[in-house]
């Protein structure tokens, strides 16, 4: 699997992550990621087919709070950290 990352796949991953990579970044990241994934492919040797994944280090139970109205940010507060706002709303880029 380690050799699977080439420039084409790296660009697909970057597009998925919403990152524009420069040619210099591609030239730097590609061999680094190949090296890292090659080193990590040592996990391939381990048979874990009978193990359950530990998405959390300790067992967790689902928790839900009471379905009651609680204090939350006002509209004005929620918008306070944004420069892109209009008429009490966030203003985003074009959708299409």
């Amino acid at each position: 699997m380690a050799g699977a990352v080439d420039k084409k796949l790296l660009l697909r991953v970057a597009a998925n992550a919403r990152l524009n990579l420069t040619e210099a970044e591609i030239a730097k990241f590609l061999p680094q990621l190949q090296e890292i994934l090659l080193a990590f492919s040592l996990l391939d040797a381990l048979d874990v087919s009978n193990e359950k994944p530990s998405f959390q280090p300790l067992p967790l139970e689902n928790v839900a709070r009471k379905d009651a109205v609680e204090k939350c940010l006002s509209q004005e507060e929620a918008l306070k950290n944004s420069r892109h706002k209009k008429d009490g709303y966030f203003m985003g880029p074009k959708v299409t």
Partner: protein, 478 residues
């Protein structure tokens, strides 16, 4: 450096009226501001807010109303933890200008006990580093106060650096994902405590990797760090992974004279000989005082820990960082192009090099076609690694190993390391972090005039044992 008062002692003096909280706050703010152009331990020193708080506390003390456990104690906070009204950027340009409207639970808890929040400490961007060299675009790298050519360690570098530097009563709220409290504590010669995952609320933390992030404490001594950890721990309904139950009085561990110490042979192997020697000398000192010592082997953790950790943490980081897109807070650009173009533009300008590298690695590890082979595999390996730890704890109270394989390196030495070589430096710290186990780092010796830290790991929720052992090592190595 002059010896600072311990926090418990300091609070007593404050309550007796022998120390002015305002004068002390002014002194430490000046110390932080004066040293910052040279050491860069702070991203923000919140002078005004700290002094307002100090004046309020002093007025309350005069009326005899305030009885807090951290009364008048200046506390610095790692940049990734939200402080109301103070720019909180997690060391990243992409959060430029973000001023939280609320305090993280840990900050709220510290304030409720009379702590004074003095500023935000420098770190690797989002915690992505071992040396605090991966700071965000436009940030300065914190320098080790013991030798400014050397790293403070990371990612809570500013927290450990300033704790080592200050001559005044102070402790720092820091955070560890893969060793980011233990490592800088080791490099700067201070005490760092990382709790069991879930013991301390993560509400208000700018996440790196949710299943790994733990807020903890750094202090000049184990007692100082334990007091702060005790204050900030406890159940919080606002964090769905917060553990229910009560772990009070962490700083007053049970008295015990028959500590069983497991020396993790596999983690010693990859360390500098001088570091190994200092750590073994510390173990021998405790053995001489009656502790029982045995060798423990954790071969799976030693071999697979780094790979499993980096796959897990970068995968989670890549989803966490997806929220930063230049619309609601942080870095903004001119609204141009469609949303994909706009988000990509902001993100490409706002994230530093290591953040991009980890986002790419994590996005790859969870993409369709690769998820099972990388992310899911790592999660299953994690199960094996936790089991190996649990087995080890059936026979011993704590496990010990060097915190870091080397003493604090010089910045020019770090520059020569590839990303993979830098990740490999986390050999001793990532396994306990991956397993969510509580661990401490305490200074036990020196090599080339730089401190050597010993890492003490306990089983889940055995913070008292961890602290008891840490106090014993600290006492034996002073």
């Amino acid at each position: 450096m002059k010896k600072a008062l311990g926090l418990n002692e300091f609070v007593k003096e404050v309550k007796r009226g022998n120390v002015s909280v305002v004068e002390h706050a002014e002194k430490i703010l000046e110390e932080a501001e004066k040293s910052n152009p040279r050491l860069h331990c702070f991203n923000v020193v919140s002078r005004q807010i700290a002094l307002e708080q100090a004046r309020e506390i002093e007025a309350e003390i005069k009326t005899g109303r305030h009885k807090g456990r951290l009364l008048g104690v200046p506390i610095s906070v790692k940049d990734c933890i939200c402080v109301k009204g103070v720019e909180s950027r997690a060391g990243s340009k992409i959060l430029s200008g973000y001023v939280p409207l609320f305090d993280a639970t840990v900050v709220e808890k510290a304030r409720a006990e009379g702590a004074i929040i003095m500023g935000k400490t420098a770190q690797d961007e989002f915690g992505f580093g071992t040396f605090s060299n991966n700071v965000g675009i436009g940030f300065e790298k914190p320098c080790n106060p013991l030798d400014v050519k050397r790293s403070c360690g990371g990612s809570s570098g500013g927290s450990a650096g300033f704790t080592a530097f200050t001559t005044l009563a102070h402790a720092s709220i820091s955070e560890s994902t893969g060793g980011s409290i233990a490592c800088p504590a080791s490099f700067c010669g201070v005490a760092g405590l990382t709790p069991t995952h879930g013991l301390v609320s993560r509400y208000g933390l700018i996440d790196y990797a949710n299943s790994l992030d733990k807020i903890g404490s750094i202090g000049k001594t184990v007692e100082d760090a334990a007091l702060l950890l005790e204050v900030i721990s406890g159940y919080d309904a606002r964090d769905s992974t917060s553990l229910q139950g009560s772990w009070e009085e962490l700083s007053k561990p049970l008295a015990s004279n028959d500590l069983k110490i497991g020396v993790v042979r596999d983690f010693f192997k990859g360390c500098d000989e001088a570091v190994q020697k200092e750590c073994m000398n510390a173990v021998k000192r405790l053995e001489g005082k009656g502790a029982k010592v045995e060798e423990i082997s954790l071969p799976l953790n030693a071999k697979y820990g780094i790979a499993a950790y980096y796959l897990a943490s970068t995968t989670e980081a890549s989803t966490n960082l997806a929220r930063f897109c230049g619309m609601r807070y942080g870095l903004h650009e001119k609204l141009e192009g469609n949303f994909n173009e706009y988000f990509s533009n902001v993100r490409s300008k706002g994230f530093g090099e290591e953040a991009k590298r980890r986002i790419l690695l994590g996005t790859f590890a969870r993409m369709a076609g690769f998820r099972d082979a990388y992310y899911l595999k790592a999660m299953k390996v994690r199960t094996l690694l936790i089991k190996e730890f649990k087995q080890a704890f059936s026979g011993v109270d704590v496990l010990v190993n060097p915190t870091m394989p080397i003493v604090a390196p010089k910045f020019d030495e770090i520059e020569k390391l590839s990303p993979l070589e830098q990740y490999a430096m986390d050999l001793c710290t990532v396994p306990a972090n991956l397993a969510g186990l509580p661990h401490a780092s305490v200074p036990v010796g020196e090599h080339r005039n730089m401190p050597v830290g010993l890492m003490i790991t306990a089983d889940h929720l055995q913070e008292k044992k961890m602290i008891e052992a840490a106090l014993a090592f600290e006492g034996a190595c002073r």
